[in-house]
């Protein structure tokens, strides 16, 4: 009868308890229980409040040690035992008690996040990273891409962005990419995002780090590349640099300011603007240009020389950032 059996909270921290923890969460998973029962299980089996938070998917559940759902209150304490939903991810499930997790607590954390992962996949679809991958992949079915786009909160149109290291991001047309190197694809209907992604990756190859070694703009928009995009296909992995690119490298080795100076001259409307950009006196810039033109062996100040310089700079960036796909 009812009085016979002990309460759950009285579980002993031994091997038997671990088996019961596993059985508890297995049963919740079998019965397709939601997130709240899983978090409640973590709380009542350990006897402390537990919380599950996944900002990407708008998840925030907190249950006290009596099994009652409570508001989150303050931020989690870094000393609380926790576990991520995905290996290497940020902490998602916490037991609200300082100190390292004991064996039963560690088991509870592991089984609870595993169960929660399944619920999230079932209820809210794949993780955000998977949704981003889906909308950029033309081999994924159109309905799956539409669903992924909805989960990402995209409207009818969006654009793909390639971040340093070819990390993908999808942004609404009015949102700017985060700081750092970025290739921005054109804004397109969401089903055309794979093409925007291809263009974004190409644009990324033209993006500079913005350092002395790699001066220039770090955000490049694909739809402003024009004919330069054609060049990208020509500079594949292992392609030999043309002599003008070698000359740029030689100038860079000879004078630390050379590359920044040439990029400024190539990308500003006048030498006076270039001097302002570089924060040097106009006459200093004149002297430097004379010197660097000697190193290059051609003039960068007449129209054909300026085009040749712009091409050389673009080609150098393509060599620096080879196609990674």
């Amino acid at each position: 009868m009812e009085d016979l059996v002990g309460r759950l909270a009285a579980l002993d921290p031994d091997a038997g308890a671990a088996v019961k923890v596993i059985a508890y969460f297995d049963r919740l998973v079998e019965a397709r229980a939601g997130l709240e029962p899983i978090v409640r299980g973590a709380a009542v089996l350990t006897g402390v409040a537990a919380r599950l938070v996944d900002d990407d998917r708008g998840v925030s559940v907190r249950v006290d040690d009596k099994g009652v759902v409570r508001p989150l209150g303050g931020p989690p304490d870094p000393r609380w035992p926790n576990a991520p939903l995905h290996p290497g991810g940020p902490p998602a499930l916490w037991l609200e008690r300082p100190g390292p997790a004991g064996p039963v607590e560690a088991m509870v954390l592991e089984r609870a996040v595993s169960a929660a992962r399944g619920v999230l996949a079932r209820q809210r679809g794949p993780a955000t990273a998977d949704d981003v991958a889906a909308v950029l992949d033309a081999t994924v079915g159109e309905r799956a891409r539409q669903r992924a786009a909805r989960r990402l909160g995209l409207g009818a149109e969006a654009r793909a962005v390639a971040l340093d290291g070819n990390r993908p991001k999808v942004l609404a047309a009015d949102r700017e990419p985060p700081p750092g190197r970025a290739g921005v694809g054109p804004t397109v209907p969401v089903l055309d995002l794979p093409s925007s992604w291809a263009a974004a990756k190409t644009a990324l190859r033209f993006a500079a780090a913005g350092t002395e070694q790699d001066p220039g703009p770090s955000v490049v928009h694909a739809d402003r590349l024009g004919g330069l995009a054609v060049l990208a296909a020509a500079v594949g992995p292992g392609a030999e640099p043309v002599p003008d690119v070698r000359d740029l490298e030689r100038a860079r080795s000879a004078a630390p300011w050379a590359l920044a100076t040439l990029v400024a001259v190539a990308t500003t409307p006048s030498l006076r603007t270039a001097a302002t950009t570089l924060v040097v006196h106009h006459s200093t810039l004149q002297d430097r240009l004379a010197h660097v033109e000697d190193l290059l062996g051609w003039s960068v100040r007449d129209p054909s020389g300026r085009l040749r310089l712009q091409l050389a700079i673009a080609l150098r960036r393509l060599h620096q950032h080879p196609d990674q796909t």
């Binding site: 009812e2 309460r7 759950l8």
Partner: protein, 325 residues
């Protein structure tokens, strides 16, 4: 009403959290036998509340009394809000399958909590147990305790017109029987009866009894054992008194407002539903809750689950309405 010819389908599934809790509990025999009762009585004794527990840090006063009954003295435990003027009262009859339990056992906790929430006095009766004391000893002890309560209401600081007879499981059956006795013998006024998953029908043939064989807590086999301990060979025959098994009562009119609850996945489901239906049919007032996926005693065994929290919630409001608190 006869449901014995209804096709018996598979048992309703347990609520996911209850199922997980059951999984994490100590191994239980499918059906309890009399041999196990001695062991279980000892296990129950270890879980009894002490007087100190019952004072709730001084908020309640605990006193001990004795009623004279036809079978000898009946111990009564009285727990009263400290410094209160006249209060309404629960007359509480504990559970334990007619064969075990006590007036300060774990099943009484929710009644003490409800009393604390509403400012009620609790009179908890320690009736004689079967099989040592078969029918009519248990119900006559309960009735003697109720008469004593009414007679001593003034000294106890209890309003005799606002005494609620309450009981869980076997105690729910005894509460219903005590109420019938009071009605039929012109006994003490009963303002309301609260029947928590009550044990009402010795015949043990309902669809729910048959569905739940070997499942959960207190299956059909355990129920046979309890009723046989109380009634011996008379169990299931035409000779069983309604004061032993209230489902046998042919007249359920003129009963006080009645609250009944039960799980959908327990032996007692159908007899409780039928009892409520017959009260309505007789023109009475009843509130019935059938908690989906609940096994017998789920509130006691898994109080942290959402279903247990939900099941506990409507009682306070019902009492406030019925007692005009």
């Amino acid at each position: 009403m006869s449901i014995t010819n209804t096709t018996v389908g598979p048992p309703p599934p347990f609520d996911p959290e209850l199922s997980a809790a059951l999984e994490a509990m100590p191994e239980l025999p499918g059906s309890l036998t009399l041999d196990l009762v001695a062991v279980m009585r000892e296990a129950n004794a270890a879980q009894e509340a002490t007087d100190a527990d019952l004072t709730r840090g001084g908020a309640f006063e605990v006193t001990h009394h004795t009623a004279e009954g036809p079978h000898g003295d009946v111990p009564l435990l009285v727990v009263r809000p400290a410094n209160a003027t006249t209060t309404a009262a629960f007359y509480y009859i504990h559970g334990g399958g007619m064969v075990m339990g006590s007036n300060r056992g774990p099943d009484s906790a929710k009644t003490f909590e409800l009393a604390a929430e509403l400012g009620l006095t609790v009179v908890s009766v320690d009736y004689r147990l079967a099989p040592e004391h078969p029918h009519p000893a248990p119900v006559e002890d309960c009735y003697a305790g109720l008469q004593w309560t009414a007679k001593n209401a003034d000294e106890l600081g209890v309003d005799p017109d606002r005494v609620v007879v309450a009981g869980a499981s076997a105690g729910g059956g005894l509460a219903a029987a005590t109420t019938l006795l009071a009605r039929d013998q012109g006994g003490p006024a009963i303002a309301a009866q609260l029947l928590f998953c009550p044990m009402l029908d010795d015949r043990n043939e309902s669809v729910s009894a048959r569905q739940m064989v070997g499942r959960g807590i207190w299956d059909r086999g355990s129920n046979d054992m309890g009723w046989t301990a109380l009634l011996g060979d008379a169990r299931g025959t035409a000779d069983v008194s309604p004061y032993a098994a209230p489902a046998r009562a042919t007249d359920l009119s003129n009963l006080p407002p009645t609250y009944l609850d039960v799980g959908s996945a327990e032996t007692f489901r159908d007899e409780v539903v039928e009892y409520a239906s017959r009260i309505w049919a007789a023109g009475g007032e009843a509130e019935l809750h059938v908690w989906p996926g609940g096994f017998h005693g789920f509130e006691l065994l898994a109080p942290q689950t959402l279903l247990a929290q939900t099941a506990g919630a409507p009682r306070g409001p019902w009492l406030r309405r019925v007692l005009g608190l």
